[in-house]
């Protein structure tokens, strides 16, 4: 049987991969996909904690699952707004490469 540590390590590795996507890639869309991976890693650790810490009635702690539901909703709204910003940016600059967007650079 997998233990809580298994789930936490897998979730941490998923978070690290998302962070690598955000830090190493230069395409705005891939950076966005990295953000989604990091949110999913947080969801995985919340669900793991909910399953391993049973409430007094011997059932998982469903507060965590409600919280995951909220995170998924906020992530969906965030993706919609972020992609609209990327499209607006592409219309203005014809690029999604972060190194071409250096107007604010000192």
């Amino acid at each position: 049987m997998p233990t809580l540590a298994h789930y936490l390590i897998v979730s941490g590795l998923l978070f690290a991969l998302g962070m690598a996507g955000v830090l190493l890639r230069r395409n705005l869309l891939i950076i966005f996909m990295g953000l989604e991976l990091m949110l999913n890693a947080a969801n995985l650790s919340l669900v793991a904690f909910s399953r391993f810490n049973l409430g007094p009635d011997g059932m998982p702690n469903y507060n965590a699952q409600v919280f995951v539901f909220f995170i998924i909703t906020v992530a969906a709204a965030e993706v919609a707004v972020g992609l609209a910003i990327i499209v607006a940016l592409y219309r203005a600059k014809q690029t999604t490469h972060v190194e071409d967007l250096n107007t604010l650079k000192f």
Partner: protein
């Protein structure tokens, strides 16, 4: 049996997440991301969170990925041109990610309380949709309505952002 399934799906999830980071073509990255989301839904099933698994497939693998592929199609993104790789950027990013992984392993492996087996449920076939819904409408009613307002604001914001010219 459960351990085998856990390893199959978590390795699938991590490998396809690596694909997201390392594929050069954005469409390949997006397809890899779909696989990663579906594998994560399977990992949720091993945690008896059936409702969250279904929502994961519907919202992430369905709606969010359609949005991503649509934008990739709209922007007509090709395979990235090979640019001069900034060694310092890769070194810095690798250092941060490596530091994070080593700190995580150090903390998790030093806590013996985390190496516990999954406790048995009092009702093995839990009706978790009912439980989550009850909790959502009873204990989290105000946050639920705030989330509704947030979705409305996001919709209005997207419509406003995608107008040709703002007045």
């Amino acid at each position: 049996m459960q351990l085998v399934l856990f390893w199959i799906f978590s390795l699938l999830m991590l490998l396809s997440a690596m694909g997201v980071v390392f594929f050069r073509n954005p469409v390949s990255s997006a397809m890899s991301l779909v696989l990663s989301f579906i594998a994560l839904a399977a990992v949720f099933v091993t945690l008896d969170a059936f409702f969250i698994a279904v929502v994961q497939v519907l919202v992430y693998a369905g709606a969010v990925m359609v949005l991503f592929l649509f934008i990739i199609m709209l922007l007509d993104l090709r395979e990235e041109k090979r640019r001069r790789v900034r060694l310092s950027a890769w070194l810095g990013g690798g250092l941060v990610v490596g530091g994070f992984i080593s700190a995580l392993l150090k903390v998790v492996l030093s806590l013996p309380a985390l190496f516990v087996e999954k406790p048995a449920l009092s009702h093995p076939l839990a009706n978790d949709i009912e439980q989550v819904g009850y909790n959502l409408f009873r204990n989290f009613n105000l946050p639920f309505q705030v989330i509704g307002v947030l979705l409305l604001v996001a919709t209005v914001g997207v419509v406003l952002l995608s107008k040709k010219e703002l007045k």
